[in-house]
């Protein structure tokens, strides 16, 4: 022990050099540490009777779940890949997936798994239904536009996303409608007299009001005129597009089916329910009692009944509600039912977003002299809608899965179309049904899983944005 004169303050118990960096405890690193953290902690505590019982139970539970999970996954892999029938060299039909004892081509000792030749032969049916072969480029183009539009709108790195969103909500429905149906419909003559006139009057009043012309009455309601006028104009443009002859063969919606119908129903439902849901959410928060009561009644009514009753209502009762002699497309009936149903859920999602906007925002806007609609349109909604994107995506996932219910009212969505092939005797085998269900489940899983991941990442991003 030497004391240094240069360090007068040093005393014996003060360290002069850093303590050596010790390796972490052996039981927290490496394979053992990993196993300890992830398994053993919960099952190696035998310090007293209670903990021992708990540990033993945990060991049993873990072992059981491990066995159960692995056997299920292995069973699936075996059914899909190992036992699955992948080749069909002779171009046979059900015989390709039947053993010789069942009248097929496979050796008798073979365990028959998924019948992929059946899926391959019916793939076109699963995706497009009975859409004419020669016109398949049209749904394909719609799918492509949809995919591009979604990437543009939903991927945060893309430029001009607002324009993309506007195009997707306004122009895409029209393009898809024309491409899928072939347009060239006819509208009653009266429509062409009444509708453009009404549009022109509304837009004219809105414009005049904005310029301060036409007296106080016009000026006071110019916002309402603008709003209604634009809505009417959109319908007019849509009607023009729908009645124009684009040189496309018309394809009746009866020939649509499979994934095409599933996507059409879910996307139309969500797109059409968005504006309706926003209006309802605003109505529910309104201070006007009549508006509030009607909105609450509407929302609670649709949220209180099962979708299947709504679909039955729209398919059986809707034709009765319209003037005698009006015929009504089946798909349109289902779309109306789905839209009404979805708008109630959408309203609740949007309401959540509206509630999250601090009151100071509205008050600030008011102090700048903005009217209610200006405040809503410029300040509240842009913030609220950004907040509720995850909620909208979740609603969409629910709606997307619920479109399978239209198969109960006799339409051919993906599940309905696949089920319809079970009635085809040329592919009737014991494995046809499981294979078909597996395909449907896989398609739904991929779509819904990706969407839920997107919604979760958005949620995370929003939370980070708000934490500052």
């Amino acid at each position: 022990m030497t004391s240094s004169p240069h360090a007068p303050q040093s005393v014996a118990y003060v360290r002069t050099e850093d303590a050596p960096i010790l390796p972490p405890p052996a039981n927290t690193t490496g394979l053992y540490g990993w196993a300890r953290r992830n398994f053993l902690d919960s099952m190696t505590d035998f310090s007293d009777v209670g903990s021992s019982v708990r540990s033993v139970l945990m060991i049993l539970l873990t072992a059981f779940l491990l066995w159960f999970g692995i056997s299920q996954i292995w069973g699936l892999i075996k059914f899909v890949f190992i036992d699955g029938i992948w080749s069909n060299p002779t171009g046979a039909r059900r015989e390709a997936c039947l053993t010789q004892a069942q009248g097929g081509l496979l050796p008798n000792d073979q365990t028959v798994g998924a019948c992929w030749p059946y899926v391959a032969a019916n793939a076109k049916l699963f995706i497009y239904g009975r859409y004419p072969m020669a016109e398949l480029w049209r749904p394909n183009l719609v799918f492509l536009l949809l995919a591009l539009g979604l990437v543009w709108t939903l991927w945060s790195r893309m430029p001009y996303r607002k324009i993309g969103a506007a195009l997707m909500l306004v122009v895409f429905p029209m393009v898809a409608f024309v491409l899928l149906t072939g347009a060239d419909l006819s509208a009653p003559k009266a429509f062409w007299y009444v509708w453009p006139l009404a549009t022109a009057i509304l837009l004219g009043l809105g414009w005049a009001g904005g310029k301060g012309m036409g007296g106080e009455a016009v000026k006071a309601f110019s916002g309402a005129f603008w709003g209604l006028g634009l809505f009417f104009a959109y319908i007019l443009v849509f009607a023009l597009a729908a009645t124009m002859n684009w040189g496309l063969n018309s394809v009746t919606t009866r020939d649509w089916g499979g994934l095409l119908v599933t996507l059409v129903v879910a996307l139309t439902g969500i797109t059409a329910s968005l504006p309706l849901g926003i209006l309802l959410a605003l109505g529910r928060r309104s201070t006007l009692p009549a508006v509030k009561i009607l909105s609450v009644a509407f929302i609670e009514f649709w949220r209180g009944v099962p979708l299947i009753t709504v679909l039955f209502m729209s398919s059986v009762m809707l034709p009765l509600f319209l003037p005698p002699g009006t015929s009504f497309n089946d798909l349109l009936r289902a779309l109306i039912g789905v839209t009404l149903f979805a708008s109630a859920y959408m309203a609740e999602v949007v309401r959540g977003g509206l509630q999250a906007i601090p009151k100071g925002q509205t008050e600030g806007a008011q102090s700048l002299g903005l009217s209610f609609w200006e405040t809503t349109r410029l300040i509240v909604l842009p913030q609220a809608l950004t907040l509720v994107i995850p909620g909208i995506v979740n609603t969409f996932i629910g709606l997307f899965k619920d479109t399978t219910l239209v198969s109960i009212i006799g339409m051919f969505d993906l599940l309905g179309q696949v089920s319809s092939t079970f009635a085809d005797s040329s592919w009737a085998t014991p494995v046809t049904r499981p294979t078909g269900y597996l395909v449907v489940a896989a398609i739904f899983f991929v779509f819904c899983f990706l969407m839920s991941r997107y919604s979760m990442s958005m949620e995370k991003k929003l939370r980070r944005g708000h934490a500052r």
Partner: protein
Amino acid sequence: MALRHLLCGVMAVGFGFAAVSTPASAQTSGSTLSAVKSKGRLDCGVSQGLPGFSNSDSAGNFTGIDVDLCRGVAAAVFGDPSKVRFRTLSAKERFEALKSGEIDVLSRNSTWTMTRDTQLGIIFAGVNYYDGQGLMVPASLGVSTAAELDGARICTNTGTTTELNVTDYFRSHGMSFELIAFEKTDEVGAAYEAGRCDVYTTDRSGLAAERLKFADPEGHVVLPEIISKEPLGPAVRQGDEQWLNVVKWTHYAMLNAEELGISSENVDQIRDEQAGLVSQGQGNQEIQRLLGLGDDFGAVLGLPKDWAYQVIKQVGNYGEVYEANVGPDTPLKLARGANALWTNGGLQYGMPVR
């Protein structure tokens, strides 16, 4: 009523769009025949898949006796059986589709009943298949008559008359039973095949078709009892007798052809033979009238003189159509039974062409 008009006026504006999006299917108030001729094709409503009656493969080619009836009409009108567009229809939408003008003929194994003939605005043009509700059981049960079915579990479709017929039958025979009614046909078949029920009941032709989908079709037997009458036939819109006649007489032409022994194979030969005889005032008058060699029976229908010849030549007589689609040599293996010609003890009877 004034209030009603006001309301309609107000709402018509709001619902103008709804009207726009309904497909262009204006009620064809004029003659269906001229409408069909001007659009150059026949729109025919068929079922969504019933082997032997109307069934399409994955390439979209339709086969079946319901399908061949429509082909026959197209052959009579255009001389070309391929000028038909088939529309598959569910049981619920079939009559609506006919009334709205979306299709010209409904040939979708529909039962001819009084209600349908009188209250739905449609009219049946004949019976192309005499069917009846039957009962199918697994052969392993060893049951040979319906009298042994006391205590049976029965699978069937909901929303059809089969459910009511089978309940009537079992109740009137004092037998106990359990009815399990499914929404979709393929579920009925799957549940029955899995052993959920002892009996599967629907139209006998449907039973024969469903049996084909089982892993072991031979393991199931259809009992001899017929528990209801189901005359199936084509229907058209009411108020167009000319078109009704076209469909009706196409069917009769096929029946008469079979009765006279004319088939798609020998029709040319017979026509040539008779053509030589007709100028001499000899030969079989019935055949000559049917094949358009004598008086013109086409003009009264608005059809070419050789309409029946075209039907027989290009589609075949009733017997040929039957044998090709549902007969004993097809997978369905349905014997002629009630569908034999009247001359053979059946019910099919072609009205005379004269």
